[in-house]
Structure formats: C-alpha cells, structure tokens
Subunit: 404 residues, 2 copies
C-alpha cells in the first residue's frame, strides 16, 4: 500500500484525485500494490465533494505522517510550493509536481535534495501537459547526443495565433475569445509574453543538455507584437507564425536558448500543430528529428501525466528514479545575439531601400498594404546586430526569425 497526499485542490489537483479514483483498479494492478489518496491539502473545505473527508489545512499533518510516501504538488508558484516541496523531500517522501515555475527556478536544488534523501522528484506534467516528453528525453533518447529541442510549448498563444491565421481575428479579439473559452487566464501575461514557454524550455534544455538553465538566462519575446499584417506576409511565402521555445547546443557545449515568434515552413510538422495543441521536436545525432504531439494543458491530460509519475514513484519506493542535471551558471548559456539567423522584417520604408540594404532579400506582398510598408526575408543568415546595422532608414515594425 502506498499513500498519497495532494497539495492544492485546484484544476490539476482535483483531476489527479479523479484519475486516481477512476482508474484505481488498473493503477493498483500496474503498480502491484494499492495506491491510495490519504490527504488533500487546501485552504478551502469541499463540502459535498467525494473527497471531503480527506481535506486537511495543515501541511505538518502530511509532513509528519510516515505512511505518506508520495506528495503531489499542484499548488503552483515558487513560494509556498517551494517550502512544502523542500519539507516533503526532507521528510523522505517522493514529490510529483506539475509546477513548471518551481522546477525552472529551483529544479537543481530540489533534485539534489531528493538524491540526498534517496527519494524521487518527478515533474513530467510540468512540460507539455499530458504529452510524455521528459521521460522519453531522459531515457528513450539516451543513446543520442542531443543537439536541439524546439517546440510549441504554450497552448494559449498557439490558440491565439491559430485564430489569427485561420480566421483573421486580430490579436486582441483572439485573446478575448481564448479567455471566453477558458484557454487564457484573466491575466494572460505569463502566457502571452512567453514566460510560460520560457520556463518549459528551461526544463527541457536542462534534461537534454545536463545543466540547469534559469529563466532569466533565456531571452523571451511573446506574441503581443504579432499583427495580422505579419500573418498575411508569412502566408504569402507559405509560412506560419508560431511561438517557439528553442534550445540549441552549440559546438562549444554552451546552450543558446530563447523564446520568440518564428516563421515556420507551412509544410513542416510544427506548422500543422494548431489550437491548444503542443508539440516538441527533438534532434539527436543518431535519431534525427522526433516529434511529440498532444494536448499541452487541460485538467485530465495534465492529471494523467501526474498520475503516471505517481505510479512510477510508487513502483520505485525502494530505488528512487533517476533524473538529474548539473548546476546552472553563467557559463551554461550563450545569447542568441551571438548567432546568425535568417530574418523576416516588416518595416516602414521603400522596396528600393530594401534592395539596397539587403541585396538578394525576398520582398513580400499582401493585399491592402499601406504604401509606406515593406516586408522581406533576408537572403542569408545574420546576427541581430548586423540586421539592425543594415536597416539604415528602414524603420522596423516587426522582426521575427525564420526557422531554417
């Protein structure tokens, strides 16, 4: 028998309780011992809920109960969740989390603590919702030297971009619709400005490349600067605008990680990922490109990833599961400003100015463009500084990378 406590009975936490209850027979059979929910920690009571009798308000009840071997942290944020996670691990309990902010900020420290205590710290649900990605990255692709991880990591922004591309909604209208459908929060900043995608690429990069990468080391640009004009220009050259989190291992071993909108070839697998779906592309020296696709968020997909981790921890109570990476540091990352990219530029200026400043650039057109607007793709790759220097009198309105 393995007892479980859930911290935080919100969307994901209540989904975990549901999946544990609904699939109990199947889960017990796979784990080869009963897995039972013993406590739910929340500030609220849940009168009338089938889980009412499990609710406690004091974390120390869980912390001091030696029969609780697995703690599920679905609180979110990096304050209370950090405190409880440290205390649970210190008390010799394995912790399963869906909290990308906590893992991106404190993953190294918490994994070290778990290793010291001989317990597991697992967080498959923190990236890609229910898509199995962290375990395949660390296990199934283990025989590869990985060179790049790149993906559509945030369902909210992908939904907004899909609505702009397919239905011609403005960014503001698409955001409102996403909020009305429950795909975007009232305060959509963390999604829209790319911070959520940034945390996820930090976690992916740490697993792929073996060192902790902090969100503040990852230049992050969201989608609030993407206009319908940009969408139309992208379509004119058979591309779609997608918000990508990317982490590339450079030949010197450093990691170039960033989050930004990109123009993606419409035939590429990532371009076909629409609405709230996520997809993560992994490149390895032996395997080539592999893509993982599915619902990146939502109560039950995320809960099923949490429960899979709970089952894994339960099967390995005696021999903790092995995820780890090295410490972070300034030597781990390198700025994308150091590297050349191919660029899409929309600017105020003339086609003649573009031809002079960017020989060989592909000029783009769209119906109804103002006379003073030009857009183009650079002929080759250049650094952002080289691009800015070449612009001259052209006043940039939108500047996005083109995914090679």
């Amino acid at each position: 028998m393995v007892n479980v406590a859930i911290l935080g009975f919100g969307t994901v936490g209540s989904g975990v309780a549901e999946v544990l209850a609904k699939n109990a027979e199947h889960i017990d059979q796979k784990v080869e011992t009963p897995v039972r929910l013993k406590y739910i920690l929340d500030v609220r009571d849940f009168p009338g809920s089938p889980f009412e009798d499990k609710v406690v308000h004091d974390f120390s009840v869980i912390e001091n109960d030696p029969t609780v071997e697995i703690v599920v942290e679905t609180i979110g944020g990096a304050t209370v969740a950090l405190d409880y996670t440290r205390r649970a691990l210190s008390a010799g309990k394995s912790v399963v989390s869906s909290n990308k902010e906590l893992v991106a900020e404190h993953g190294y420290e918490l994994l070290q603590l778990a290793a010291q205590k001989g317990v597991s710290y697992l967080f498959e649900a923190s990236v890609g919702g229910g898509i199995p990605i962290l375990r395949p990255l660390s296990q199934c692709l283990a025989a590869n030297e990985l060179t790049e991880v790149c993906g559509i990591l945030n369902g909210t922004t992908n939904y907004i971009l899909t609505r702009m591309i397919r239905s011609g909604l403005t960014f503001e209208a698409a955001l409102k619709e996403a909020q009305a459908n429950g795909y975007a929060e009232k305060d959509p900043t963390a999604d829209v400005e790319g911070r959520d995608a940034c945390r996820k690429i930090c976690i992916l990069a740490a697993i792929a490349f073996g060192r902790h990468i902090y969100p503040q080391q990852v230049p992050t640009e969201g989608i609030s600067g993407v206009t319908l004009a940009d969408v139309a220009y992208a379509e004119s050259c058979n591309r779609k605008i997608k918000l990508l989190g990317r982490a590339v291992k450079e030949p010197d071993g450093r990691v170039c990680a960033y989050v930004a909108p990109h123009l993606v070839d419409a035939e590429a697998p990532l371009a076909g990922v629409e609405d709230v779906f996520n997809a993560i592309m992994v490149k390895g020296d032996a395997i080539g490109d592999v893509m993982f696709y599915g619902r990146g968020a939502g109560k039950l997909p995320t809960a099923s990833a949490v429960v899979a981790d709970v089952m894994d921890a339960a099967r390995h109570i005696q021999s903790r599961k092995h995820i780890e990476w090295g410490p972070g540091g300034e030597d781990v990352t390198v700025s994308p400003d150091q590297f050349p990219f191919r660029w899409y530029v929309r600017a105020a200026g003339s086609a003649a100015a573009v031809r002079t400043a960017f020989p060989g650039a592909a000029l783009l057109s769209r119906p109804g463009a103002p006379a003073e607007e030009v857009a183009f793709l650079t002929a080759g790759a250049m650094t952002r500084a080289q691009l800015d220097a070449a612009l001259g009198d052209l006043r940039p309105l939108s500047v996005f990378r083109v995914l090679a």
Copy 2:
C-alpha cells in the same frame, strides 16, 4: 563494466556498434559503468572493419561467456533469432531486439522466459524505428485506460503513397523509385502487403491492452490496390490515403485490430506525416490524443533505439525492466467485420444506382473519370457485409474505410 554481444552485423547491427563506439563517453556516464562491445556474431568476417577483432561465428562462445550480460539481436526473422534469443535468456542474459517479426510471433513466450530468469527482454526499436513509443506506452501513459492505438507504421508504403499523392506517380512507378532510393527491398511484399505494419500493430496492441495478439488474428490489406483514381477522389473531398495499423479496445474488452488503407482528413495530424516518416497516435481516457512522430526506419535511428534499450538494461542488471503482457487466445480479438465504419467506394456503375443504393452518400468526382466509374463516401457507418449487400449492381473497384 557491462559486456555486450551483437548478433547479426547487418544494417542495424553495425549501426549499434557505431553508436556504442561514437557515444561511448556519454553512454558510460549515463549508465555509470562502462558499456563495452565484446563480440559480434555473424557468418561473415569483416576484414579491415574497426570491429574485425570482435567477430565470432559460433553463438556458444557468447552463450557460455558469463561476462556477457546483454545480447543485441539484430538478425531478423523468427528461426535462428528465436533459437538464440531463447538460449541467451536461458543463460541469464538480457536481450535487446529490433526484430518485430520475432516479438509479434513469440513475444509472450520470450517475456515469460525473461521474467523467469530475472532478466530483461526489450524491443523499443521493433516499432517506429527510433521513435520512443513502447516505453511511453507502457510507462508514461500508464495512468490512462487506453482505448486506441493507430498509426502510420511502415515507411516504405508511406513513401509510395506520398509520391502518388504529391507527384502523381502510379503505384508501380513509386515502388520502383522507392527501391532505387533504398526505401524498399527487392522483394517488397512484406512492406507493400502490410505484413510489416501488421507485426507492429500486434506489438503496440499487446503493450496497450495487455494480451498477446498474433499477426494471423489481424486482417491485413496492403496498398497495391490503391490507384491514382482513388488518390484523386480522396483529394476531391480533402482527404489523403494512408495505410494505417489500428487497434481499438471494444467495450467488451476485446481488441479489434486490422491493417488497411484509410481516407484520412487532410487537416488531421496523421495526414501530415509524409515520405518515410512514421507516426503513432494513442488515445487514452484522460490524456486524449497523443502523437509520436519520427523516422520509422534507417540505420542510425533504429540503432539509437537499440542502444537506449541496452543502456536501460545495463542500468537494471540487478532488477529487470518490467514489460509484460498476458497470453494470446481466440478470446482476445474481434474481427473488424463485426463493426460499422464509414466507407469510400469506387465502383463500376452509375450515379443513379449509388443514389438508390446509398441514400445520402456523398458522390465524388475527378477530372478524366471514365463514364462508367462512380465514387462516393457512405453517409453513415455500416459493416462490410451491409455495404456489400447494398452494392447491388454496383461492381466495387476500391473499397477503403474513412477514418472518423
């Protein structure tokens, strides 16, 4: 130190040797002990090869060497490979295989033997080449009651269909091109007639649903009956023809598994899988749809999956890895003939006859169709027997299912 022997130094076997050598440092670090190739069993010698000194011709050398703990079986087929796999497992060695025929025919027996001996039998590379799919199925999706596995499981046929769809090549011309490019074998029967896909859906279904399913229980139809006329009709209703292996868990617990060409909505993720790429879609009650995509074949992708299994076996020498399923039997499967599907039909006959026989059917058209040819999608779902009975004077030329 863990010693490895490779049986069969063909494409995959030599790829395994290369990946083990090239990524040795990385592999040893992840496994936390050196992983060394000690023997290569082949009937040939390889003078001048860097692996020349490891070649042996007698399996008993490997069988009787107690320092060999992991045997890689990349022989293929179910005769010699079966004998050596039984003997290796019986001798207490873990076996890693890329041999889908052997697993599909004898997986249950070999997994039982491995369990008795306390060793691992792993075969991630047998399905989807380098795509991590078997481990995610058995582990990451463990918290789900799985309801369906469906995929493009054979790169050769997907390449041929892609060339027919995109470039208008006939089946025969596309097959010749595939052979010239090394994507199809001289005798392409196993690929073209769907037998390769059949073996793979057997393995996927066994892991997803827990009982062995034998290839002879899976009705299998290949792509040699797909014509350019069918491709054109599919395009006229915004669909693409794809060869799918499907296994659906019916409410009574039995598995309906089959391999056949399907019309797939052009916007669906599976439709975007082109050339030699494979993709496997998994449906679970909590997770919804998840898709795994990548190169389904090829020396290095497949070798990297084998090496990942070798690493996993090496890490678990003391505690064997847990894959298992129950025995097969006639009670495990149910024929797709029992179930209704929506159908695409191309027939010799008249539109009037279609309207009479299939009220509400969607008639399709294509440029240059002969006067006596009709094609349509049935309005609703019906069993194959119901379809055949309704056809009356219409003489069917192509009959494919429409993926809902």
